[in-house]
Amino acid sequence: MRLSPLNQRRWRNFKANRRAYWSLWIFLLLYGITLCAELIANDRPLLVKYNGEYYTPFLKFYSEQTFGGDLRTEAKYSAVEVQCLIASAGSLDCWDDPEGILAEVTEKDTALGEPVNAGWIIAPIIPYRFDTIVDTGGVAPGPPSRQNWLGTDDTSRDILARVIYGFRLSVSFALVVTLLTSIIGIIAGAVQGYFGGLTDLIFQRVIELWGSMPSLYVIIIVTAFWEKSVLLLVILMVIFGWTSLVGVVRAEFLRARNFEYVRAARALGVGDIQIMFRHMLPNAMVATLTMLPFIITGTIGSLAMLDYLGFGLPSSAPSLGQLSRQAQGNLQAPWLAWTAFFTFAVMLSLLVFIFEGIRDAFDPRKTFR
């Protein structure tokens, strides 16, 4: 895809802002990493070689029987017995002395002196998922250690794993909500601005009524009715968030509806919808784009707030807001608060820097070298 000269200039302007440019790359890197969270923080190994065959447990279910065990439930890869079974191609002696056999196989490829088809396990860097209960052997909010780099939370789950999944969830949630609210908001604003008059008048009053609804209480009530889930929260956020873009888009369309090229398009017999989205929207996009950053950061903030209050995502979900709530309840464990704070600080700062760059790059009045 080739960029138009205008967009090329914008990209140059964006690059000229070093802080925004590097923030973009760092953010993309972080988000890219967290998008592959299953490969980095997971309680199932990435690849297992057992008895000469390869298995990918992070994608597929394998029972313990697959590896020569007794249970039909999923193999517990963190258990030393299972590790021994895999290494020794299902040697039955693993039930007696798993550590000894494991050490022997790793060293000499034999189990109790008999040669075996030795296997191995490639585990992710962080062998916990966001909902894995870690057996630390200590109290619940455990401090940072070799095993849990950022400590554990109040139900003994690895915080680093939760932060990785939580970052992904927060950003993805914000992007999805922003996308949906912008689509609805742009359509609503475009219709109002383009047709104007009575349509505009009525629509505007409806939006005023809608906007004065206390959305937090509605969300609290609704989450009391239905089970909490990401989907429900997305729907609620979109229902109450779509009005934020209407004003800007409406203003742009009110301005543009009497432009000569719009009149020219009308004289050519171009339909209303085509005029709105082919002629007017691209020209109204700059103002719209400068609004989007506020919506994205605002959505991340609202999600964190709802989670903090306990009305957001279900408690098992990896949520940064919930981490803050735990931090408040466990002041003796400051690593909770620090992690929550730094994650939010880094995420929001990067986003703000990027959007500052985008806004400047789209500003036609700003001149660059």
Partner: protein, 352 residues
């Protein structure tokens, strides 16, 4: 006036375009700006009708109303046998290819985010189901017709000069082989050196494609160059509608006379001797036009009847239509008689 020979392509009958004024807390309808107040004319196929008048007299409103860019207040606009004013949305869309417009400001009438090829191709996208290759052929053909280099197809409007932009606007108007084109001051935004090029292009195209123009302009010498007949508008009404040469030689309506006396005269000897009529005072508000003739507040030849009765447009010589009581069947004594009482109405006619 014309025998059975040339057929009128455009017939405008008693066209009125009022813009409502709302005021007060309840936004009540308290009046109308009578931008176009009952005008009628025909345009014959292949003809160019010039529409002249000063700023704000309703010229552009007529042009836009003809193409139904406004929903007119009343009247009929029959273009190629169909009343455009009463067509439904879909029928109107089907009708659009026959009637097109060239806009005043070529900069503003081209979408800055679209390339030349997309701008010219847009009417084709809307009204044809041609293949991409066939559309591109047509786009190139149109670019050749208006004298634009084919290499420019992927450029944006801001990369062109004013004259080139107006050519793009003309190419877009021509894309669907229209019969009737409204040229709404197509040269007003151009340099004088470019104006002639664009007007000549319009004339060439008319000859080649048999187009019919409504040429709206305040540039009287340009209208003289291009138009076959000329309608002079004043405050929403037609003052005089005459063939070009008789009108420029001897305008009948006092307003036309005053207006045409402002045309520059290339011959210095004649220029030195010519009589210029300078109108004083302002144009009355179209929201509250004078009771009688619209021109009665500024007319140098005003008399009593002008202030009470609106003159109708009637044929006074062959093909010449004038809306003035001076040319009624039993003309009253003009000019001098009314002048003495005229002062009270604050209307001035100064002659040099």
């Amino acid at each position: 006036m014309f025998d059975d020979g040339p057929r009128p392509l455009v017939q405008v009958q008693d066209l009125r375009m009022y813009f409502p004024i709302f005021s007060g807390i309840f936004r009540r309808h308290t009046g109308d700006v009578k931008a176009v107040d009952g005008i009628s004319f025909d345009i014959v196929e292949g003809e160019t009708l010039g529409l002249v008048g000063e700023s704000g007299c309703g010229k552009s409103t007529v042009g836009r109303a003809l193409l139904r860019l406004y929903n007119i207040t009343s009247g009929r606009v029959i273009i190629d046998g169909e009343d455009v004013a009463s067509l439904g949305p879909e029928a109107l869309r089907k009708k659009r290819p026959t009637m097109q417009m060239v806009f005043q400001d070529p900069q503003a009438s081209l979408n800055p985010r679209m390339t030349l090829a997309r701008i010219i191709g847009e009417p084709l996208n809307e009204h044809t189901d041609w293949s991409t290759a066939r559309k591109l052929d047509r786009i190139y053909e149109l670019m050749d017709a208006v004298g634009l280099n084919r290499r420019f197809a992927n450029r944006y409007p801001h990369e062109f000069s004013g004259g080139q932009r107006q050519r793009i606007g003309i190419a877009r108007a021509l894309a669907l082989n229209p019969k009737f084109i409204v040229c709404d001051e197509p040269i007003a935004a151009l340099d004088v050196s470019i104006q002639a090029q664009v007007v000549n292009l319009l004339e060439d195209l008319q000859e080649k494609l048999g187009l019919t123009y409504l040429f709206i302009s305040h540039d009287l010498s340009m209208v003289r160059h291009i138009a076959d007949r000329v309608a002079v508008m004043y405050l929403g009404r037609i003052a005089e509608l005459s063939p070009r040469d008789p009108l420029y030689a001897k305008p009948l309506h006092p307003y036309a006379e005053a207006l045409l006396s402002a045309v520059n005269e290339p011959d210095p000897v004649r220029a030195a001797n010519r009589r210029r009529i300078i109108l004083t005072g302002d144009v009355p508000s179209p929201a509250n036009p004078p009771k009688g003739c619209n021109f009665c507040t500024r007319c140098p030849k005003v008399f009593d009847r002008c202030r009470t009765e609106k003159p109708e447009l009637r044929e006074v010589e062959t093909g010449r239509f004038v809306a003035c009581h001076l040319f009624d069947d039993k003309p009253q004594a003009a000019g001098s008689t009314g002048a003495s009482e005229a002062n009270e109405r604050n209307q001035q006619g100064v002659t040099q």
